[in-house]
Symmetry: C2
């Protein structure tokens, strides 16, 4: 109820998302080539936790949006999205597909039962259909025999003018593994050999690790890279020319003098080796900051790193302010993203992946669109002293 | 868009919460005693992820509600809560405290700066004030000297009729540790020796592990136990006479035949040793199911356990249905709670605590109040075959 937000906020940089989309386009269209695949901008899970409406502000140039369900697709339409939408995990009936608001609509067929939902749709409400093979992932997806049968049946529908299109789609189980990716690609190409239709197989990891192969397909599906996060192990988004689109910030709400020998946090996980000044940050695992971080973890305070000390609790985490004598209540602390550690680092401390952190932010963390005029997203500088307050709503 | 909800839902059992409250009351009032402490029902973080409005349906007999901020307190008032509210981590100004809707209001003072916000409130809008010592936790909280000075100043206000009450509050750093708890208690009692006023120090772990000491205080603060979850390591809520208040369920949306030698899930984390039938469940880490589970993990299908196979992905996890030949699309899978594994087990697989899982459910998981008429919450039975479909909204 004071000037700064009472808790954690995720600041979303739509310009960074637009930058990342341009970056992927350049990767997919090397100088001198005439043709490049179109890009499905994957916006599942509320745009990987960034907030669909904010992500759309950066995705105006995408060729289509990839979502999970038809409800998600309708939400995109309500937000004004006019181009194609790919529903990647939709349950649907014939009645659902009759809603004209959904079109232009692409749907993925990953189980034989879904075919019944497609028969008898009158033009012009015809979806573009993508068959998905189960592949090495073995989540939803047609087995080889089911795939061939579905293709025969749907190809007849296509020829009769009752489908807008029919393509081939695959999710790789190990796209970031340079040995497994070609094997998975080859197996899928063998399956679809002789079946005409566009190809949609490559994701962020495949596009960035093997763009030459990705360029030979018709549509790519990019999610995590659009948000500035590396899909490849051991590399950050920045190293791949991407800009992080999210900064998780929370206010420092109190400071505490801790004497040598005293503990900080639940279960005495940290014991001070010297007298120190700590800052209490209004962010905890109830916001989605992972309680499971281990080892030396950091957050950004006044543009420099400060160590996180003690166990992360439900609503609070503590940082060592010994080297930040000017920091005090109201200062913004950056838990990840520009002004703090890379999200890839925090994911490493928590033993998980960056996407898990971004989509794991809870309902109480407002996603706020960062104003365009603001300074460009940069990594934490060495020793600047500028006060960075938490952005107001 | 079919009959069952498209994704994960958390079914909330308000009767279980009411049962747990009664259980804590019995623990706090052994036969023959005349006086028992009052109970703050802690409902921070949207009632530990259960949904405040659903939790309130089970908390009608609590003496007061414990929340974090004044905004949370106002939300409780809008939901019809008339008894006292304890704001445990509130930033406030004098203007904030003038809102009559907040009262009867208790506020925690954990930093000297907050005292300024209390001077000059005209009756009858007088909060009850609790001083909080930093203790061994060393998060927010007054140091000993600050505590004594604040007590002197506020005691004068109390005597002059300008406060509704003045008490002593502490959060233990190791309430579940039978050696540390008495030390922390003793240190606080030494600090407040000679200072009159009610005492509020005991939480779920302290109440359940040492009820005799808890009975000597005036108010206890119970959170996790109210939701049926054990605050003590190595014990489940059920072992403590509590009933779990949340069941996380999600629909099985497809099945897949996997041949011996094939992998399931990203990064080939699982490889089938024999031909098997798996079920794909519409729940993943974007719902808040932890991607970090390790070892043999399970979920409840048709009242019996099924192994989770392969890495949990954003929107899907897979279960082994080899021993569930009748299970198919539309069946409910229980990820934790009645009908599935205890939430304490899932927390163990994920290397965290149950509270982390419950508060970590994301916005896309609807919290649905379980109808009263339903069967009582029970652990998974041996080999019942009853079909348990996901409850409709």
């Amino acid at each position: 109820m004071t000037g700064h937000p009472p808790g954690a906020v995720a600041l979303i940089d739509a310009q960074a998302i637009a930058h990342n989309l341009r970056r992927l386009r350049r990767v997919l269209r090397p100088a001198g080539t005439r043709r490049a695949p179109r890009i499905w901008a994957v916006a599942k899970a509320d745009a990987y936790g960034h907030g669909l409406e904010h992500a759309l502000a950066g995705l105006a140039d995408a060729d289509g949006l990839g979502v999970l369900t038809l409800d998600d697709a309708l939400r995109c339409r309500r937000l004004g999205w006019k181009r194609p939408i790919l529903a990647m995990g939709a349950d649907f009936t014939l009645a659902d597909l009759r809603d004209p608001a959904l079109y232009p609509l692409h749907v993925v067929i990953d189980r034989p039962e879904q075919l019944a939902g497609l028969a008898g749709l009158p033009p012009p409400r015809m979806p573009h259909v993508w068959l998905r093979h189960c592949g090495a992932l073995n989540h939803a997806g047609l087995q080889a025999g089911e795939y061939r049968a579905a293709f025969r049946s749907l190809h007849a529908e296509l020829e009769a003018g009752r489908l807008a299109g029919l393509g081939h789609l695959q999710h790789y189980a190990g796209a970031e593994d340079p040995e497994q990716l070609p094997r998975e690609r080859r197996a899928f190409h063998e399956l679809i050999s002789g079946m005409p239709g566009p190809l949609c197989t490559e994701n962020s990891a495949a596009v960035l690790s093997d763009p030459a192969s990705a360029c030979l397909t018709d549509w790519v599906r990019c999610g995590i890279a659009l948000y500035g996060i590396s899909p490849l192990r051991g590399l950050t988004g920045r190293a791949l020319g991407l800009r992080p689109a999210m900064a998780l910030q929370a206010p420092l709400y109190a400071t505490q003098a801790v004497r040598a020998g005293q503990g900080v946090g639940y279960h005495g996980g940290f014991r001070a080796e010297r007298d120190m000044r700590i800052g209490l940050v209004r962010c905890g695992y109830a916001d989605g900051y992972p309680r499971t971080v281990q080892g030396p973890c950091q957050a950004g305070v006044q543009g420099r790193m400060a160590a996180i000390v003690g166990r992360v609790s439900m609503d609070t985490l503590a940082v060592d302010l010994s080297a930040h004598p000017d920091a005090g209540p109201g200062d913004a602390v950056t838990l990840w993203g520009p002004g703090g550690p890379e999200v890839e680092s925090v994911a490493g401390w928590a033993g998980t992946i960056s996407a898990h952190l971004c989509v794991g932010l809870t309902a109480r963390v407002p996603r706020i669109l960062r104003p365009e005029a603001q300074e460009p997203s940069r990594p934490v500088a060495g020793a600047t002293r500028k006060k960075a307050r938490v952005a107001s709503k």
